[in-house]
Symmetry: C2
Subunit: 253 residues, 2 copies
C-alpha cells in the first residue's frame, strides 16, 4: 500500500493514542479516504525504557525488534516510534529495519525551522533517561543550541510525576504538574520548551493549557513529519518514482 | 501474543483514534505493561460504506477482507470493527475470518445489561445506511425493544451532518448538531439514545456535552467488550486453558 506508515507504539498506550490523533489532525482531509494509511502496533509489554537505561533493567530491544519485523510483514514503508526514550536504541533499530525510521529529534529540528526559530536556549522536558543519554543534545550538536532542563527536584516532582500520572490514566492531574514545569522554564528565559516525552502533551492538552503554544510538542512534530512522508510517497508513486524510499533519515545515522 | 486484539479501522480515522483511546481508558492500569496489546489497521481508503449500501457504490468488502488477512498475519486472536455501518458485512467477514469478530450490537446489548436497563424505547442515532439495513433492529429482534430514530429532516441536518463534520476534522461543530439530535430524542421520551455511529461520541466529547451520560456510546461499549475479551484471554492462557478462542460471537451468527 502506497505510503503505508507503521507506528511502533505502546510506550505508553495513551501517548500512542495521542500520536495517532495527531496523525489525523495533521492531515488535510475532507473525507475518510483523504487520510494516510497507518498500522499502529501498541504492544505495552515492552519493558520500561527508563528502567533499562538507568537501572540496568530488562532491555526493551528484543520486543522493539519483534515489533519492527511484524510491521515490515504488514508491508509498511516507513516507521515511527512515538517514544523519545526509545530512541536510545535508534541505531540498533535502524540496523535491523528494512524500511526507514524517522527520528523524533529530526522532526523537532524540522519544526524549529518551520517556525523560523533559532533559539539559543531550548528547554528539554523529558524522562531522566532521555536527558542522561543525551538523545537530543548529541543529535543537535554543533547547532549552537544550549539545552536547559528543569532543576532535579522539579524534574522529580513535576516532570517525572506528570509522566507517571499519564501512564496511570490521570492526564488532568498530570497536566497541572507539567504546566508548572513549563512555567518555571519560561520564567528562566528558556525560549522554547520541547515536550520531549510523548506523555507530556497528553498532560497539557488534558487541561487545555495555553502554555502548550509556547512549546514544541515532539509528538506532533513527528506526526507532521510522518504525514509529510506518506503524502510525498503517494505523490512519488503516482509520478512513477520510487526514490522516496531512500529518503528516511535512518541511513544517515 | 496472548490476548492480542486486532482493530479493523479507518472508518473514519478519527473514530478509530477515539475507539483506541477508549480501549486504553477502559483498562485498569497503573503502568504501560498493564495495558492490552493491540494492532490497529487504519486503512481509510476503504470505500464509503454508506455509498455502497445506499447508492450501489463500490463495495468496501474486498479491502475489509484484505485488512482481516493482514491482521491475522500479525497473529491477532480477536478482531473488532469500530464502524457500525461496516457490520452490514459482518456475516461475510466472519466467514472469511480465522479468528472471532466481536459484534458491536452485542456490545451495546451487554452494556444495557451492565446498566440493568430494560428500555422500551431505544434511540438509534446512526447513518442512514445503518438504519436502513436494520443492523441493530435485526440483531436485537425479539427483545421487546422499540427503536426510535430522529425525524428524516433532523437526521439529514443534525445526525448525518455531524458525522460528515467529524470526518472533515471539525468535531466541535459536529458536537453542537449531535447534541441537538440527542435532546430531541430525549424530549420525545426516548430513554436511551444509542450513539450507533462511531463519529457521534467524538462529536459530543469534543464539546464536553453532558448529554453523553444519557446515551450508550457503541464505541465505548465495543472497547469495553474488547478489553474484557483480552483480559479473559490472558487469564485463560495463564491457567493453561485455550477455550476462550471459541468464545467470539462470530460462530453463533
Amino acid at each position: 500500500m502506497q505510503g503505508l506508515l507503521g507506528v511502533l507504539g505502546g510506550m505508553g498506550p495513551l501517548a500512542t493514542v495521542d500520536f495517532f490523533k495527531k496523525l489525523v489532525e495533521e492531515t488535510q482531509a475532507q473525507r475518510d479516504q483523504d487520510h494516510i494509511p497507518v498500522i499502529v502496533h501498541s504492544l505495552p509489554a515492552i519493558p520500561c525504557r527508563s528502567t533499562a537505561i538507568m537501572l540496568e533493567g530488562e532491555s526493551p530491544l528484543p520486543l522493539l525488534l519483534e515489533g519492527l519485523v511484524r510491521l515490515k510483514q504488514s508491508n509498511v514503508e516507513c516507521i515511527v516510534v512515538p517514544c523519545n526514550t526509545a530512541h536510545f536504541w535508534y541505531g540498533e533499530l535502524c540496523k535491523a529495519s528494512k524500511v526507514p525510521i524517522l527520528h523524533i529529534v529530526d522532526a523537532v529540528r524540522d519544526e524549529l525551522e518551520r517556525r523560523g526559530a533559532r533559539p539559543a536556549r531550548l528547554g528539554l522536558m523529558c524522562t531522566e533517561s532521555t536527558l542522561a543519554t543525551r538523545i537530543y543534545q548529541d543529535r543537535m550538536a554543533g547547532e549552537g543550541i544550549e539545552f536547559f532542563a528543569n532543576r532535579p527536584d522539579e524534574r522529580e516532582q513535576l516532570v517525572t510525576a506528570a509522566i507517571d500520572l499519564v501512564k496511570q490514566g490521570k492526564p488532568r492531574e498530570a497536566g497541572h504538574l507539567a504546566e508548572q514545569a513549563v512555567r518555571l522554564l519560561l520564567d528562566r528565559g528558556v525560549e522554547t520548551p520541547v515536550l520531549a516525552c510523548t506523555e507530556l502533551p497528553v498532560a497539557l492538552e488534558a487541561i487545555g493549557s495555553p502554555l502548550i503554544e509556547h512549546c514544541i510538542d515532539a509528538s506532533r512534530a513527528l506526526a507532521r513529519a510522518a504525514v509529510a512522508w506518506s503524502m510525498e510517497r503517494r505523490t512519488a508513486v503516482a509520478l512513477g518514482s520510487q526514490d522516496l524510499r531512500s529518503r528516511g533519515r535512518c541511513l544517515s545515522e
